[in-house]
Each structure stands twice: as C-alpha cells, then as structure tokens.
C-alpha cells in the first residue's frame, strides 16, 4: 500500500489543456475523490495516473517507484471502468482470474484467491455466469473483484456507479466505501456527483478546467469553499457582490448594493495549496462575492426592522415556493433582479407574494474572490 | 498493433487499391487519347479522334440512350417494388427479419450467371411461362419474354432490387414508429399519414437507393448478354466488344469514359432534383 504523488501534471489534446500543472498527494489507504463537472479534467487525470494517457509534462510516483513512463500493465493498478468493461466472452471466474493469470500465478492459488474475493463481494456461486447474465449491481461487484484480487498498489475508479439507478447507486456508495476501508487500499475515485463524493471520500479534490480549486475533507469543502465555483458546485449557494470596507473584530464588513453586511473572515483551510495566496488576495482585492447557503437564511413575516444587532437583514418578496417534504424551497426577491434561494421550515409557510424579512447570521456567511479569476 | 508504425496495417490494402485500381483507371483515361493500332491494340500517339467518333456516331448515341433508358426503368421498378419490401422488413420481428434478410440477399450470393439461367428457363420461348400460357390456351403463339428489352429489364430489376431494399430499409429504420399513430390521432388516414409523414422522411434512402441502382443498372453486362441475346446492345456490351473483339482499346476506353460522363451527368441532375424536392418539403 503506497502513496500516490503527482507533480506538475499537464496534458493537452490539441489546443485544449485538459490537465493544467496539477499537484496531488494521496495518502496511504485514503480514498481521494476527484470531483467536478464534465470536462474538468478529472477523468484525464485518472487515466494519466493509470497510464492510458501519456502526460505532456509532470511526474507520477507510486511510493518510491517513478511510473510516469510505464505502460498500464506495468503499474500494478486495479481499475474499475464506468461501464465495468467485463470481458463478455469470459465467465465471471474468467474475468476475475485474468489479472492473476497475467501475473503467472499457479492455478491452485488463482482458484483460491478468486473464490475468496468473489465471496467477499457476495458473488459466490455465480462464477460460471457470463457478464450479460448478471444484474447491474452484480456486474459492478464483479468489476471490483477483478480489480482487487490482484492486490494492486492503487485502486482507480472512473465514475463506477454512474450506470446504476439512483437507489442502487446510494447503496453501492456505502458498499464501495466499506470495501475500500476493509482492504485499506489507496484509492482515487472520479465522480461528478457531489453527494457521492461527500459520502465516500476521505478528501475531495474539486476540479475545474484542469485545475484543483480546493482540496480537503468533505466538511471543509462544504463549509469553507474557497472559490465561487466550488461554492456553486457543492450544494446550493447564494451570491451577493460586495466590496470590503473594513473589519469588526473577526468579521469583515462589506458594502453591497443592498446595504452593509458583516460576514466571516477568510476561511481556514487544512492543506490546500495557495493558503497564503488566499489570505493575501483578501487584502489585495476589495471586490468579493458574499456567499450564503439557503439553509442559513431565516425568513420572518413583516417588513424589515432597523438593522439592529449582529444579524444582517433584508426585506424581500416571495416569488416562488416548492414544497419538498422536509423543507420548503423559496425564491425570495430582495432587489430587482436579485433572487435568493432560501430553505424554510415547512411549518412556518409563506405564500407567493408575501413580504418577508430575510436575516443572515454573519457566522454562516463567508466571502470568495469575485468572479473574474478564481484560482488558487 | 504496431505501436510505432500503425499505418503498416493498412499499407497492403492501400497499395492494392492504388496500384491495381486507381492506376488502371487512370491508365484507361490516358488510353482513350491514344490511337487505335493496326497490328497492336493501340498506338501511343495522342489524338482526340476517339472522342470525335464517339460523339458523332449516332449509333452509339442511340445505344447510350437505350442504356440510360433501361437504367431509369430499372430504377423506377426497383423503387416501386422495393419500397413495400423495405417497409415490411423494418416492421417485422427479429426472427422473421433474419429469415427475410436471407431470402433477400441469397439471390445476390448465387451468382449472376446462374440467376440469368433461371430467368432463361422461365422466360424463353420454350420456357416455363410460355409452356404454362400455351397449356392454358391464353396465347397460342407464346409471349416474347426474352431476347428483348423486357427480358433484360426483368433480369436487371431482379438483381438490383435487394440493393434498393437495403438502402431504403436503412433509412426507414431511423423513422420513429410512433409517428404514424401520432398523425392518425390528429385525423390523418393511413394513406395520408404515409405520404405526408413517412415518405418525406424516407427520401434520403430513396435518393441513395435510386442513385445506387441506376449506376449499377447502367453498367451491367451479363444480363443484357444472356437475356438480350445480342439483340439488346447496351453501352457496356459495346465497350467490351470494341475492346475484346475489335481490339480497339482506345476506342473502347473513349466509350467507357463517355458512359461514365453520361452517368455522372444523370447523377448531377438527380442530385439537383432531389435537393429541390427536399427543400420543397422542408419549406
């Protein structure tokens, strides 16, 4: 079990830069998720680590071995593809045994290991079936078994659950996670589904346009997004343009078109690159975006009272509502053209057209760099 | 497979086509400008005489006209007969479709000579149809079904019908099956639903199929020979005759080029017509 170290990885396709000077460290035994929208470069990064693409620049190390130029068959990886890529002309047994046969394992040992791994993924008894005879979930587990039985140094998964239906996907998330922890294998998991990444990853690398915008554990990514793109991609976020005009203790004071707001100071991060750059830019550029999540906004009836106390307040009108069971999704217009998404308690219901007051706790609001350039 | 030079994989096929297909045709074109030889098939002196003789020979024009006419008639009948076949083919289930495809394609795979023999046995003066007709007293003198343009037409339509069907069914398969029910739910009868919805959408296949069949029909050789005797001379027969019997290679080459040119002209006209028709339908 080893560490994956990626330095300065760059990959171009024609004039398109798919991966741009990427640095990544995956710790021993951890599950790192590469998260981002399609086209962000996460799959290309994975495939370069696997060896199916040759990097234009950069180095990749598995532990002490430099694998940058090795072909995939010499990197000792286990890979699970989005469509499973099970060999249709071989049985389940044949598929799972394939990697061991490539390593010239004696057949007795092959039999033992395949049987044990199949039992581990609850596919025992199905060895002589063909992939087309298996359900989607079974094919998924067969693909996992095939990748794990060879005891690879790293496990690479490329959106492995994308082809399953929603309910099965949810179940399989936990399953994959527990399997990975049981085996303790260093894993990179590519996905565009942020809920999935939050559930299974030890750390998430959020990628856009070939670069990592933020790297950290799920709760940090959620509560302290460092760029507006990350904030927008993870969960729902409302943005308000503003300028920093001063400090109040630990809070920043910003001037906006809607009035003066107070919010949290620059977010604290654990290990993302560019921490100092972030802190620096807070002073360099006064233009910021204030970010606040829908669940952190309180709605009360009536008109705005004078801005007393620490809370920021805004008057608004409810423009739309949708009842979602455990909460109500409101769209509240607080200024011409500026509509905020608010999650409200279903018991205190407002109707369309109601005048409400939205209040925001500064501790639940933070700032990110303004929209023109948002890269750490 | 070869990592460093994958083009080696395709090199033999490309070499084959370039050396033994492109070059010979280029050579043919050059040949059409040479002079017919007396003791040899050709004399490598450049001349335009071959084209002059082809363009001024009214007999050759008549042959060409007849060739094009047969091509057009073949295409027309192939379309009329092939459309129902294609329509049916895309609507049947998987198993039946397999069987029907076998039926459709197997004539192609039996060889044109044997098929022609079958038609001869059917259409000849002492063939099966005439025997039946005489037996039933319908036409005591028998029907002239062979060694004329009718026989040639039947044989040619028969050979190229599968090509039309395959081309049409390719396009018909892409038409969503619920379009006709949708049209009918809006008040259209079955026939109107077909003409206003299905047929226009199938036009690309009609277009391609007609083009394919026309080009093939115009250049067919065996059918006119076997089912037309030498009473139905078409340009391909003329070309071969000029080359092999008369040993006039430049003349034959010029005739072949003229046939190509005439076909291309027809194709260009057809493309123009179809584009106009497509635009008319879209507008």
């Amino acid at each position: 079990m080893s560490v994956i170290a990626v330095r300065g990885l760059t990959k171009r396709f024609g004039s398109v830069v798919a991966v741009d000077d990427l640095h990544l460290d995956v710790r021993d035994g951890e599950l790192m998720a590469l998260l981002g929208p399609s086209g962000c470069g996460k799959t290309t990064t994975l495939r370069t680590i696997a060896g199916f693409e040759l990097a234009d620049a950069g180095e990749i190390h598995f532990g002490e071995h430099r694998v940058t130029e090795l072909p995939p068959e010499r990197r000792n990886i286990g890979m699970v593809f989005q469509n499973y890529a099970l060999f249709p002309h071989m049985t389940v047994y044949g598929n799972v045994a394939f990697g061991l046969q490539m390593r010239r394992e004696p057949s007795a040992s092959v039999r033992a290991r395949v049987t044990a791994t199949l039992a581990k993924v609850q596919l025992d008894g199905l060895e002589s079936r063909y992939p087309r005879q298996l359900s989607g979930g079974q094919q998924q587990r067969a693909a996992l078994a095939r990748a794990l039985v060879i005891a690879p140094d790293v496990l690479l998964l490329d959106e492995p659950l994308a082809n399953l239906d929603a309910k099965l996907r949810e179940e399989m998330r936990f399953y994959v996670r527990s399997l990975q922890q049981e085996v303790g294998i260093t894993t990179i998991y590519v996905t565009h589904d942020q809920a999935e990444a939050m559930v299974i990853a030890d750390r998430i690398a959020v990628m856009f346009n070939g670069r990592i915008h933020q790297l950290g554990p799920p709760d940090e990514i959620y509560h302290c997004p460092q760029t507006w793109r990350v904030a927008e991609f993870i969960g729902l976020t409302n943005f308000i343009d503003g300028r920093i005009v001063g400090h109040e203790g630990e809070l920043l004071v910003l001037d906006t078109a809607l009035g003066v707001f107070r919010c949290r100071g620059p977010a604290a991060r654990a290990d993302a690159r560019g921490a100092s750059a972030q802190a620096g830019s807070a002073d360099a550029k006064p233009e910021r975006l204030i970010a606040v999540r829908p669940e952190s906004i309180q709605l009360t009836g009536g008109r705005a009272s004078a801005g007393e106390g620490r809370l920021n307040r805004l008057p608004g009108v409810v423009r739309a509502r949708a009842f979602l069971g455990n909460f109500v999704d409101y769209r509240v217009e607080v200024a011409p053209g500026l509509v905020l998404r608010v999650q409200g308690d279903p018991r205190a219901a407002f109707a369309v057209g109601d005048h409400v007051e939205a209040s925001f706790d500064p501790a639940a609001m933070w700032t990110v760099p303004a929209r023109e350039e948002a890269v750490a | 497979m070869s990592r460093r030079r994958p083009w080696l994989l395709v090199a033999p096929a490309v070499a084959l086509v370039v050396v033994f297909f492109v070059l010979p045709y280029a050579n043919l074109l050059v040949m059409s400008f040479f002079t017919p030889g007396r003791t040899r098939p050709y004399d490598p002196r450049l001349t335009l005489a071959n084209y002059a003789s082809v363009l001024t020979d009214s007999f050759q024009w008549w042959i060409l006209w007849r060739t094009l006419k047969l091509g057009l008639l073949t295409t027309l009948f192939a379309l009329l007969l092939g459309y129902p076949l294609a329509y049916n083919l895309v609507r049947v289930g998987r198993r039946l479709k397999g069987i029907l495809l076998v039926l459709l394609i197997s004539p192609l795979l039996v060889g044109v000579v044997i098929r022609s023999f079958g038609w001869m046995a059917l259409l000849a003066d002492n063939g099966l149809i005439n025997s039946l007709v005489r037996y039933c007293g319908l036409a005591p003198q028998g029907l002239k079904l062979m060694y004329n343009e009718f026989g040639v037409l039947v044989g040619t339509v028969h050979i190229y019908l599968p090509f039309m069907v395959l081309s049409l069914s390719g396009t018909l398969e892409t038409i969503p099956p619920d379009l006709v029910p949708a049209a009918r739910s809006l008040g259209a009868s079955g026939a109107r639903a077909f003409w206003r919805v299905v047929f226009p959408l199938s036009l690309p296949g009609v277009f391609a199929g007609c083009l394919l069949v026309f080009v093939l029909a115009v250049s067919s050789y065996v059918i006119p020979v076997l089912l037309g005797g030498f009473k139905v001379l078409t340009t391909p027969l003329l070309v071969v005759q000029t080359a092999v019997d008369v040993h006039n290679w430049p003349g034959a080459a010029a005739q072949a080029v003229m046939l190509f040119a005439a076909s291309l002209a027809c194709i260009a006209l057809w493309v123009k017509l179809m584009n106009r028709a497509m635009r008319g339908l879209a507008g």
Binding site: E73 | L28, I105, M120, F163, S220
Partner: protein, 265 residues
C-alpha cells in the same frame, strides 16, 4: 385482418416469390427429365448431375474456382482485417481513406475488368495470367472484409482492452485474448462474403481468364451463350447449395446484420 393489410401482405409474398423464383427454377430444372421446363412437367431425373460429373471442363473449372476462392479469401481476409483495425483505431474520421478502400465496390465490375486488362498489358503481365486473375479477385473481395470487420470494430468497446492492460496484459496478449475473440464474427462473415464473391465473380474473370484459368461462372456463361443446357442447372444447384449453406452459417454467427452496415457506407 383488414382488406388493405391482406392486399399488402399478398404483394410482399409475391415480391419474395419474384426474388427467389430464378433460384427455385434452377433447382427444378436440374431435376427435370426433359431439356426444357414445360408444363405439365416431364418428370424427375438426375441425368444432368451425371452430365456434370462427366463433363471435364465443368469439373475442372469448378475446382479451379474453389481453389482460387480459397486463396483469394485468405489474402483478402488478412489485408482487409488489418486495414479495418487501422482505420477504426487511428483514422476514424478519414473519409477519403475509407472511400478509397471501398472504391472497388463502387465502380462497375466490367469497367474495372477492362481497366485491369489494359493495365496488365501495359506492365507486361498479359491478360491471361493466374496472378493477374488473383489480384483482380482480391481487389474486389477485400472491401467486403474491410466493411464487416470495421462494423464490428466500431461497436467494439475500447475499454475492454484498457481493462485487460490495467490487469497486466501487454498489447499482444490483449489482442489475442480479448480483441480477437470478440471481433471474430466480423472477420468470419467478411471471409465468407469474400469467398462467395470470388467464387461467383464474373466480370473480372471474364476478361482476365485464359485457357487454363477458366472459372466456373465463365464456363457456364460460355455454354449458355450458345445453347440451353440443363447441365448448367445441375452445376448451378450445387453452387446454390454451397452458397446457401454458407449464408446460413453467417446468419448464425450474427454476421448478416453487418452486411446492412456496408450498404450505408
């Protein structure tokens, strides 16, 4: 069933009857006691098959065609398959290359034959050599292999090869154990098509055959031009049986669908 539907189906049945009529007639004629097919029928006889077996020229040309077709198939299958591998993997969008490789199918066979005849004289090969005939056959048969193997390769899931390599298989092993078994059906159906095309090939053989290199179709043609000999029917029936058997084999291997791909290219 409605009237119009019955009428439609009747038309369909008649059309299929039209399509297979000549083949059926050939088989019947081969068993006919008389020379011509008459109604009422003359009776059953195997005389024409006996005639065929006794006819030197027919038997010789039959086996000649068989051997030529086998050789043609072997060559066409290899170069057609490798060409398809290249085009689908490395030149998918190169329309010109694809058109070039399929071109021998697009131009009339008789013209290609003529062009080849004249060309062979120009390069000193002459018009009756076995090599020239073989090259001509390979030329028109290879595109079929190319088309059927391409069709299978287009649908081939590239990630299967990547999966094999991620498990430790090198390029050659991957091709041998994963790619080849899966594209086998395309190769086989292409080979079958190539064999039939060569065996039944007419225009090229017509102009490039010599005295000792006569193929079966040419032999039949020579007979038919001057007389109506039902021995031809016997030969034809054997030909039909061989071809139909081979077509059904291809259908079983799922190769017939790939033929319809070819007509769309």
């Amino acid at each position: 069933m409605s009237v119009s539907r019955t009428a439609f189906l009747t038309v369909i049945v008649l059309l299929y009857a039209f399509l297979i009529a000549p083949i059926v007639i050939v088989v019947i004629a081969s068993l006919n006691a008389g020379r011509f097919l008459v109604f009422p029928p003359d009776g059953l006889s195997f005389q024409w098959y006996v005639n065929f077996a006794r006819s030197g020229p027919f038997v010789r040309s039959f086996f000649f065609s068989l051997r030529l077709a086998a050789l043609t198939t072997a060559i066409a299958t290899v170069i057609g398959t490798t060409a398809a591998l290249y085009v689908v993997r490395h030149a998918r969008r190169n329309d010109l290359l694809r058109m070039l490789l399929v071109a021998p199918l697009q131009l009339p066979g008789i013209m290609t034959a003529l062009a080849l005849l004249i060309f062979y004289y120009a390069i000193g090969l002459g018009g009756t050599s076995y090599l020239g005939l073989l090259v001509g056959h390979v030329l028109v048969c290879t595109p079929y292999v190319f088309l059927t193997v391409s069709a299978v390769l287009y649908n081939f899931d590239h990630s299967l090869e990547e999966a094999a390599r991620s498990l430790g298989a090198g390029r050659v092993t991957t091709f041998r154990r994963v790619t080849l078994p899966i594209i086998k059906s395309g190769i086989v159906s292409g080979a079958v098509l190539a064999f039939i095309t060569s065996f039944d090939q007419f225009p090229i053989s017509l102009l490039l055959s010599g005295v000792g290199t006569t193929t079966l179709p040419i032999q039949i043609f020579d007979y038919l031009r001057f007389s109506f000999d039902p021995t031809v029917a016997a030969v034809g029936t054997i030909n039909i049986l061989i071809t139909l058997g081979v077509v059904i084999l291809t259908e079983r291997l799922g190769g017939l669908e790939s033929l319809t791909w070819g007509s769309r290219h």
